[in-house]
């Protein structure tokens, strides 16, 4: 039996912020686009808080496609005029320009109680308050409450119970909680605010629900504008003839799928999402046909981490280059797979999305 074939104009390997941004732009321009992804995207384990370079005209273009659609899903993301400073779950500052400002713990908040939930590792209130005082000289009160049931649409009553606890036991005006819902409308926090009369906010938290929320929103928008999402399907090989790639093989569980395309976009991310791998001597492309190198970067003390994070695919005018030095005219790497992008940790989403957005003409040129 021969494997099934997917036939598209543009095939994008990697469904994180970069892949989904470009896919959505191309699909809304009328191209047939499929995106394959496997395992988790760095986007989904980030804080989901985005810092844009506001001088870049692509911000407005990006927003006209995405932000309007976020809003129609009642997920109240705001694009701020000027970046604000949010606080993370370990009490450090993080600059951001796209987020839900009504529910963010920011530097502006005074009279704050940081409430950890026993057994929930997302917010260590003692640690956050300690770091806050040490690095910024700000005082907040650490508190702990016992665990409550995992919130689902079914056990609504727990919201009331939690609101009562917050109202009756905490004098501070602003209450910081760990992320407790994957719902991008923040309905749970709205309810908690209304019932408790407090400002209830979330710390910027990586490795938790906020990144997942952002990822799911991007996927939702991509599907809405006609992108075909092939989730849990991994790119395992690329067929190249001369200076052109024309076929890719994906694994789907124990089977394989063939993808035929005019342009191939590689958006498989950096180390965290499996786009690159470490082989003991350095960073390599796991498909092992394209040239990887690193750029000079600063800001991280560990040289291993610095090397790993600043490594990425080499390009020539936006096209990938094989290990033998051949420029492949229709293979376009984008996002944190490129060298020097999304560095250091904690930033990257903004740059990755804008650069992916702007690579549309290169892709069109390759078609």
């Amino acid at each position: 039996m021969s494997p099934p074939v997917v036939d598209v104009d543009i095939f994008i390997a990697g469904g994180g912020a970069a892949g989904l941004t470009l896919a959505s732009r191309m699909a809304s321009n009328g191209y047939r686009v499929a995106v394959a992804s496997s395992s988790i995207a760095a986007t989904a384990i980030s804080t989901g808080r985005v810092l844009f370079n506001h001088d870049d005209p692509a911000v407005a273009e990006w927003a006209s496609l995405f932000l309007t659609r976020f809003r129609s899903r009642e997920s109240n993301y705001d694009l701020l005029e000027r970046p604000t400073v949010a606080m993370t779950n370990i009490g450090t500052p993080l600059k951001q320009s796209l987020t839900n400002s009504s529910f963010d713990w920011t530097l502006e908040d005074r009279d704050v109680a940081v409430v950890g939930v026993i057994g929930n590792n997302d917010l260590d209130s003692d640690l956050a308050c300690l770091e806050l005082r040490r690095s910024l000289g700000i005082c907040a009160r650490p508190l702990w409450i016992s665990p409550f049931p995992y919130p689902t649409a079914a056990n609504n009553h727990f919201v009331g119970e939690l609101a009562d606890i917050l109202k009756d036991n905490i004098s501070e005006n602003t209450i910081v909680l760990p992320p407790i819902s994957s719902d991008p409308t923040y309905a749970l926090l709205t309810k908690l605010q209304n019932l408790s009369g407090k400002r209830v906010v979330e710390a910027a938290t990586p490795l938790s629900l906020p990144g997942l929320r952002f990822q799911l929103l991007l996927e939702d928008v991509a599907e809405e504008v006609g992108v075909r999402l092939l989730k849990d399907r991994r790119l395992i090989s690329i067929k190249i003839h001369g200076k052109e790639a024309n076929e890719a093989v994906l694994s789907s569980g124990m089977r394989t799928i063939i993808v035929k395309f005019s342009a191939l976009v590689l958006a498989t991310g950096n180390l965290a999402s499996g786009g690159l791998a470490v082989n003991g001597r350095g960073v390599i492309d796991p498909l092992n046909i394209f040239r990887v190198s690193s750029t000079q970067a600063s800001g991280i003390h560990s040289s291993t981490l610095r090397n790993a994070l600043s490594s990425g695919l080499d390009t020539c005018k936006g096209r990938a280059i094989t290990k033998q030095g051949v420029v492949i005219r229709n293979v376009i790497p984008i996002g944190s797979l490129l060298k020097g992008v999304s560095y250091p940790l904690g930033y990257g989403l903004g740059e990755v999305m804008l650069e992916a957005w702007k690579s549309a003409p290169i892709v069109e040129d390759a078609l």
Binding site: S39, I40, G119, A154, R233, S251, M254, R255, A272
Partner: protein, 340 residues
Amino acid sequence: MMSRIEDGCIKCGTCQNACPVFRIENYPYFQGPRRIAVEAPRFSRELTSLSDSPHMCTSCALCESVCPSRLPITEAVLKMRTHYGIESEGGRRMISNINQYGRTIAPTSKFTSPVSGSTLFFPGCIGDARVPSAVQGAVDMLIALGDQVYIPNEWYCCGSPLEKIGAKSEVDRLQEMNSAILGTAERIVTACPGCTFQLQKNSNVDVLHVLEHLFEVITPSRLRWRSTNPINVALHSPCHLVRSVGPHTMDYAREILGSIAGVRVIDMDDEGCCGGGGGVTSTFPEMALKMARLRVESAIRAGAHMILAPCPFCVVNLRRVGDLEVKDLTAFLTELSLCR
């Protein structure tokens, strides 16, 4: 020397967040995939503190599918089971049935089917004993579609449930027992994801889940369905189908259901494991029921009149809840097929 799994873990905790068992059974009773697969073996003195944790895993492989380092977590958890040996009552019962019948459950059904042909339909222990209508219906439908389908007179457990409880020698013995029987088929089709995966691992011919057979071999244009009264169905995604056989199978299921007039597939608000895999239905029946209840409640909230699952294990476990009709997808399709 550390294994790939111990060495490759970056401690992000994504697996712990994704684990459906960890959502309902908290530490220290259940300790989550990272503790079981990475930390316990790395610091071997902690192995003893795992208590029942390795046996509570439903082998849904959600942990593995979200792991940024793509570590084979499920395999590592199962290895921990082997390390502890088979202690559970359910596990002992399964092995005693294997010794007696070569099946995990005593054979019950007598199917009406040819006993030779080219496409071997493998009923599987659960299909045979718990959802025989799916097996019989599938055989009837495929014969009507012109397929040379047969069920051999004798067949034995594929070995998948035994692998899940760490009974390695039984797995090898069953493979040996089945090899002559299965070796003569041109293609093997089954309605069970576990059988599909397990048999394909050791077979040179295609072993297809019935959804793959319908979609890729028969092809949708040859399938004819009668329309039904309007019905909302919640399509449950069986872990062993989506993550072992492959996610394309659920695309096929949606596409086939979408072509039947009257059937509306509705989305559940929370995708997850039914709790029926990895042997936990017999080892921790109450936990398995609790997980099934979450799925059924999610389906009811979404407005479903029925849950369809293309896996006999899921069907059996979801049915235990009792609040909503649960049908094997294969049985549902064969009832609506105009080719019978």
